[in-house]
Symmetry: C2
Subunit: 244 residues, 2 copies
Amino acid sequence: MSIVRNGDDRSVPERCSTCVIRQSGICSALSGEEVTRLSRIAHHRTFEAGQTILSHEEKPAFFGAIVKGMVKLTKPMLDGRQQIVGLLFPTDFLGRPFSRSSPFSAEAATPTMLCCFRHADFEAMLASNLDMKQHLLERTLDTLDTAHEWMLLLGRKTAEERVASLLHLLATKATLGDTTGKTPRDGVSFEVHLRRQEMADFLGLTYETVIRQIGALDTRGIIRMDGRRKVTVPSLEALRLASG
Amino acid sequence: MSIVRNGDDRSVPERCSTCVIRQSGICSALSGEEVTRLSRIAHHRTFEAGQTILSHEEKPAFFGAIVKGMVKLTKPMLDGRQQIVGLLFPTDFLGRPFSRSSPFSAEAATPTMLCCFRHADFEAMLASNLDMKQHLLERTLDTLDTAHEWMLLLGRKTAEERVASLLHLLATKATLGDTTGKTPRDGVSFEVHLRRQEMADFLGLTYETVIRQIGALDTRGIIRMDGRRKVTVPSLEALRLASG
DNA sequence: CGATCTGTTGACGGCAGTCAAGTCAAGTGG
DNA sequence: CCACTTGACTTGACTGCCGTCAACAGATCG
C-alpha cells in the first residue's frame, strides 16, 4: 500500500470494478472494458474535515466523485456572509464542467475520499462517451431539482421547519448507508457531522437559532439529542411533517 | 396565416432558420439540415399572462423553448405558501427531461410564445443528436449556477438587497432585448411585468415588504419609479452594489 | 492548566411579517 | 355618464420571529 498524504494520494484505484460507488457513480455509465480505461486516469485523494477541495473563482484542477464522506459547496458574499448551496454524499459528482472557474468553493465536511479525474482527461472522456454525458445530464437535472427544494426552504419555511428539513435529509442519507435494504419503521439514529454554524449557513439562519430549534424539536419529541452530535428520530414521518 | 387560439396554436414555425432564437436556443446546436427536420416536429403555442403552461406533479405533454415573453416556475407548499424557483426568458428551455412528472408548475408571467416539441419527439431527437444533448447539459449547468445565486439571495440577503437584485436582473434582461449591442452607461428604463405578489414569491418576502423596499430604493435615488410598472435605473452599477 | 474552539443560554432589539384601512385603475352594467 | 365592483397597490400601526450581543459551559489539546 502506498503512503497516503492528505489531498495528495495519487494511487490508482486498485479495481474500479469493486469500488463502492461503481454501481451508481458517474462510472456506472461505463461498460467493464471502459472502466478499465477509466482506472488509468482516475486517482483517489483524501481530505481531512475542514480542508478546502476547490477554491471559489479559481480554475479547478480536477473533477471527482465522492467515495466516502461529505462535501459542502459554499458561496461567499463580499462582507463575509455565506451560504452553503449544496451538500455532496457518496456517488455524487463534484465539479463544474465547461466553465473556466468554479462558481463555488468546496470543502470537506468530514474526512472524505474522492475519486478524481484531471480536467482534460475527464472532458475528453465525456466527449467520447455518450452514456457518461447522459448520466451527467440526468445527475445535473436531479441536482437542480434539489436546489429548487432548498429555494423553497430558504424563501418560505420557518426556522423550525428548516432545521427539521435538514435533519430529515441527514437521517435519510444515513439510512442509505445501511445495506439492510429496508426502511426502518421506528428509530433512526445518526451522527450530525456538521457544526452548528455550518447547519446555519445551509439553512439561512444564525447558529443560535439552529441551537434553539434543535432544542424545540427535542422538547416536542420529534427528535432526541444524545450529546451534541447523536440524533435519534423516533418517527421519520413525524419529522417529515415538521419539515413542512 | 392560421388562426391562433391561446395555448393551442399548432402551426409549424414557417422557417426555423429565421426564428429569433435560432442563434441561441436549444436549436442552435443543430445544423441547417437538422433544423429542417426540427421544424417538422416543432409547433408554436401562445399563452396569455397568468395562464398555466405546466401543472405541478403532472406528466408534462411537451418541452419548449421560450420565443417571446416570460415564464415563472413555482413550487407550492401544502398550506399555500409558494416560492418561484425560476424565471425563463427568450431562448430558455422549459421542461424536465427524464422525469415522469414536472417538479414545478410553469405559468406565463406575460403574453408568451413557446416553440414546443412533443415529449417523445424531443427525447428521440435528444438521443440521436449529441450536440443537442451537449447544449442542454451546458444550459442545465448554467441554470444550476443561477439557482445557487438565488439560494445565496434567499438565505443571506436583506429585503432591500433582494429587491435590488431582482430589479438588476430585470434591467439586464430588458437591456438584452435591445439590439444596440452596447451596454448603456447611464439610464436604463424598463417595465416590470411581475405583480408585487409575484416579486415577493420570487424573493421570499411579503408583497408589503416589496412595496416598502421599492420605495426605499426610490428614496435613495437608486431607482426611479414612474407609475407602478415603469422603472428607471440611473446607474446599473449603483443598483448592483445595492444588491450585495 | 490555560488557550481555544464549539456549543448553550439569556436578554434585548430590529427587520420583516401581520393585520387592517384606504387608494387607485380598469372594467361592468344600469 | 356615473354608481358599483374588482383586483392590484399603498400606507400605517403593531407584533413577533429571528438576529445580535454577551456571558458562560464543555471539550480538546499542548
